[in-house]
Symmetry: C2
Subunit: 308 residues, 2 copies
């Protein structure tokens, strides 16, 4: 009634001398009111500049938000640059569209904590998708507390009550290792990004990767080891870099070859790294695969183009 009041179902109903129920029906259940009434309601709504039923109120009453929360890797910047992650995001976005769901992106920074976990607590959504978090990330705990339907993608594998999807990284890496072994490779190196939350950059020993907080990375290394290591040849050298990017792959390849000039193959544990490693190999005058074999991991388009 009062002119400066924000319009709502009630203001419309009052103005028209109707019940809010009728107005609600006019919006949501056209078949349950007469065409005439509906027209009157819509007209009055337009007159008052009513934006339609308030989503928050509706969500409270209906108990569903028509939105999904995606808890995404800490470094959004790197995430967006990683075609594997982008591919996943794209697919998810597409499915959501199909299902009429919105997508709420929650980035899981490593930061202090409180503020950020709040994002998980306050998200108005019906369920969570958790993408590739590190072991023990507090966001996952916060997610589980919400008791909403949840799917964990890739990592961490121990996600409590939540559903999990992902590759069997260890088995596939082992297959790759065995294949390389069959090809005759005996001295193989590994390049990987961000085993753990700290910003280590350089060689990583077994103690480090066995306890890294990225289960994906850990499993891929372990798998390669399963496939490659034998009594007659020692631990596989691992080169770690903080970034997952072509540049990082290149830097790491140089570092690795400087330290182990005798390697005949290098496994990059993501395609993005492999792209950089290829470039670095070329720069060193190495022919691939004659002088050096390089492998990737993921199956992204860029990699195909680069001929990995």
């Amino acid at each position: 009634m009062s002119p400066n009041q924000r319009p709502s179902l009630r203001t419309i109903a009052q103005q028209l001398g109707l019940s809010t129920a009728s107005v609600s029906h006019a919006f949501n259940r056209p078949d349950r009111v007469s065409a005439h009434l509906r027209a009157r309601v819509l007209a009055e709504a337009a007159r008052q500049g009513y934006p339609g039923p308030d989503p928050a109120a509706r969500q409270l009453r209906r108990g569903r938000a028509d939105a999904l929360g995606l808890v995404f890797t800490s470094e959004l910047s790197f995430a967006f640059r990683d075609p594997a992650a982008v591919g996943f995001l794209e697919g998810l976005a597409r499915s959501c569209e199909g299902a009429g769901l919105n997508l709420l992106v929650i980035s899981a920074q490593d930061a202090p904590g409180a503020r950020d976990v709040d994002a998980v607590r306050n998200a108005v959504i019906d369920g969570f998708v958790v993408y590739s978090l590190r072991d023990g990330d507090p966001h996952l705990a916060a997610v589980l507390e919400r008791k909403l339907p949840t799917v964990v993608v890739d990592a961490p594998e121990q996600a409590g009550t939540a559903d999990w999807v992902g590759l069997d990284d260890r088995a596939s890496a082992r297959a790759l290792g065995e294949y390389l072994r069959q090809l005759g490779h005996r001295r193989v190196g590994i390049i990987i990004a961000r085993l753990s939350a700290d910003r280590h950059c350089g060689p990583a020993g077994p103690d480090r990767w066995a306890h890294g907080s990225s289960s994906v990375g850990r499993n891929r290394i372990l798998g390669l080891h399963d496939g490659l290591a034998t009594p007659d040849h020692p631990a596989v050298p691992v080169e770690e870099h903080i970034e997952n990017s072509p540049r990082a792959g290149a830097d790491a390849l140089h570092a690795l070859l400087d330290r182990h000039p005798d390697l005949t193959a290098v496994c990059c544990l993501s395609d993005v790294l492999a792209v950089g490693a290829l470039a670095a190999a070329a720069q060193r005058g190495l022919r691939v695969p004659e002088d050096l074999t390089i492998t990737g991991f993921d199956g992204i388009a860029e990699a195909e183009r680069a001929g990995i």
Copy 2:
């Protein structure tokens, strides 16, 4: 009380013989209740498995959702592949983190309509950011209907009551055109992606680009024209491609040069296109910039790397 009821402030209050107000305070205003009471409440909450105050209810009462809606270009797939868009997304995500806001991504498909605009209608958010939509996109209308604070980025420029940020595309393109002219270029071509919603692929005449539904593209072409065209030299040939990708840039360059072998310079209206065009030029055995000048637009990292 009843054992199978979902926990809420009230179930906790009842169990403890308190008022819901006290329980609410225990959660949000620790200083307004005694430490003892607070502890009891928290304990009971844990016992019942209470996930904390319901975000939807809180949002209804408080009137704010702590979330921003981003209405994003139709083709999410391309959007994610365009470093310019990704850069924007990343920056926005970062700012939201800083402000304690969540980010709700709403993709604006071209599709049928109804279903999709609903996403805009149902989004539980405090404000909109609209990124680079085509003129007349129904999503923008839906956004404006919500009467929330809104910022339109890049396009469309005529955004009604909403705020707008973006480049002065026309002026910067003109500057580029004039610069090329000074360098002595007289025969210049243009490569651009998606002037309009239809899937046109090939040469685009003035009639087409003057009425294209992408104001960004239109302005850049018009600006180049301002800077390049003179009485003694006719309209600048424009080659359009449906995609904004390196491959598209390459295809377009071939098409353009096949049709106009005498061009001395080609302006790609996005860096992504330019990257592809560079590759295509190399493939044709053209040296850049000796035989052919190629320009980009955006300032993305990949472009710098490619030496544009």
